[in-house]
Every structure is written in C-alpha cells, then in structure tokens.
C-alpha cells in the first residue's frame, strides 16, 4: 500500500473495502450448521423407518452424532490454529454452542439412567397386566432435546441478527410443545423437521452468502 494523500472519496472507499475484506475473512461457511442439520435429520428419519418398516440396523444410528461431534472438534481446532483474527461474536457464540454440547451429553446420560430404572418396571407392568402402560417415557424424551436445540440456535439468531436461525429456534420450540402430545414416530419426524429448519437451511443460507461475498470481493480486486 502506497503512501499518498487521500481524497474524501478515496478515504470512504478504502474504509468500505477494508470492512468488506475483514468480513470476508471471518464469514461463516455454514459447514457445522449444514452437517448437524443433515446428521440429526438422517438419525431421526432412519429411526422412524426402523419403527415404521420393522427393520433394525446392526448399530444405533445415533452413533453418527458422535462421529459428527469428533469431526467438529477436530475442524474447530484446525480452524483455530489457522485463524488470524478474533471476532466479537466469538465471545457469546462459542460458549453458547459448547454449553449446548455439554447439556446434550448430560441429558443423554440422565435419560440412560432413567431407562435403566424404568425398563424393569415397564416389563413387570406388561407381565402382570398383559398390556403396555399408558405412560410411555420415550414420548417425553424428544421435547427435552428440541427444547435444547432451540436455545443456542436462538442465541445465534438474536446475537448475529440472523433471521433464518431465529425462525429455526422458534420452530424447534413449537415442535417441542407439539411432541409432548404426539407419539414417538411423530416426534422423530418433528425432530427431522426442526433440524432442517433450524440448522440445515440456515447453513445453506450462510454458505450462499459466503460464496456471494467472496465472488463480489474477487470482482472488486480485479
């Protein structure tokens, strides 16, 4: 960059260019959002198909989430090493999503403990009465997950003024209320819907914005 006297127009153009360059460097590609949207949708739909069509995969499809989580951690470490800037958003986005991951892990652990205690009682009830109890614990698990899915999505949507995620978070919470009253099969379909609306579509939106921005920068640089 040469040392020269700036006119007012040149000053404004320079400010504009630099702000655009900064934005381009930290623009989110939506990779994680798309990945989680796809993973949760696949898990929910495969589980739904298992129940609907009466087959069983040799492994639990939800193990896919562990693979996705490991991939995300590895990529986050890689990105962190490469990154030369810290964004203002990082101050609240990272804690919100890390906290979300911890809460999901804790919830899974608590649910497993509940099932360990619940299943013997359930089996005993079926043996004694010959029919299933009216209360089915499984039908109350999905709303808990959907409630959690909505929280970091809402924080991201509000904090970054990103409407697709804000709408996605509201849909998660609406589905959360609905799934309290629906059966497990419907719960799975609503979980898939929530993942698509809250993560997959906003992720594609971010990717498209990122690509457009990169293209416009290339044109400016020519």
């Amino acid at each position: 960059m040469e040392k020269k006297e700036l006119t007012q127009q040149q000053s404004l153009a320079l400010i504009n260019t630099m702000i655009h360059k900064a934005r381009e460097s930290y623009g989110d590609t939506g990779r994680d959002s798309i990945m989680w949207g796809v993973v949760i949708t696949i898990c929910s739909l495969v589980k739904f198909c298992e129940i609907q069509f009466g087959f069983k995969l040799p492994f639990d499809i939800y193990l896919l989430t562990i693979v996705a989580a490991i991939f995300q951690v590895v990529m986050a470490i890689k990105d962190g090493k490469k990154s030369k800037v810290k964004k203002y958003d990082d101050a609240f986005l990272s804690p919100a999503w890390i906290g979300f991951g911890v809460c999901i892990g804790l919830l899974i652990h608590i649910i497993n403990l509940l099932y360990i205690n619940y299943m013997p009682m359930y089996n005993e009830y079926v043996n004694v009465t010959g029919h299933k109890p009216a209360f089915n614990l499984g039908e109350y698990i999905t709303p808990l997950f959907l409630m959690l899915y909505g929280l970091p999505t809402f924080i991201t949507g509000m904090g970054c003024n990103f409407k697709p995620m804000l709408i996605g978070s509201i849909i998660c919470w609406l589905c959360c209320i609905i799934t309290v009253y629906t059966n497990y099969k419907a719960d799975l379909l609503l979980t898939a819907l929530s993942a698509i609306v809250a993560w997959f579509i906003p992720g594609l939106w971010m990717l498209s914005t990122y690509k457009k921005h990169k293209k416009s920068q290339e044109v400016l640089n020519v």
């Binding site: 960059m1 700036l6 320079l14 630099m18 460097s25 800037v85 964004k87």
Partner: protein
Amino acid sequence: MFKALDPILHSQLRLAVVSLLISVKEAEFTYLKEKTGATAGNLSVQLGKLKDAGYIDIHKQFKDNYPLTLCKITKKGVDAFEQYVKALQTYMKPDATE
C-alpha cells in the same frame, strides 16, 4: 462548516488498519499485512504511530515458539474513527460546498 480530518487517521495505511480492526475484536500482524498489502517494515511503523496516539493496543506473545503480534482497537480509536467518518460525511454533503 468543514470538520478537520484527524491527521493520524488520514493516511492510507493507518486508515486501512483501523478500518480492519474496527470490524474484528483482535487481529494478528500477519493478517493486517496480508489484507493491506503493506510491507512488514512500513506496517510496523504505522502501527507504532497508531499505538502512540492511543488508537490501538499491541500485544506481543508466542505461539508455537514463534513471536505473535496481536493488535486491537481501543475505545479512543473507535471514537476517533467515528469522528473521522462523521467529518468525511460533512465533506460529502451536497450543501457543504455552498
């Protein structure tokens, strides 16, 4: 009435650096060098001037055994940038020349 433009900011490289730093919380020296296209020597001198004016903070540390220089805009820098943009806007208004 024209507002005087801040001489610290009214320089191509210093203005470029402050415009970059206003958009991020913290940036590495290499990032600023890459985005502005300046030479390391020139950038160091201009960063020093911005630091002396109290517009930026420069923090030096080590990362993987390599020296790392981090730059961050200060409150004074943000205020000066805002004043600079306001002053520029007075020049751009059509009635400003009357």
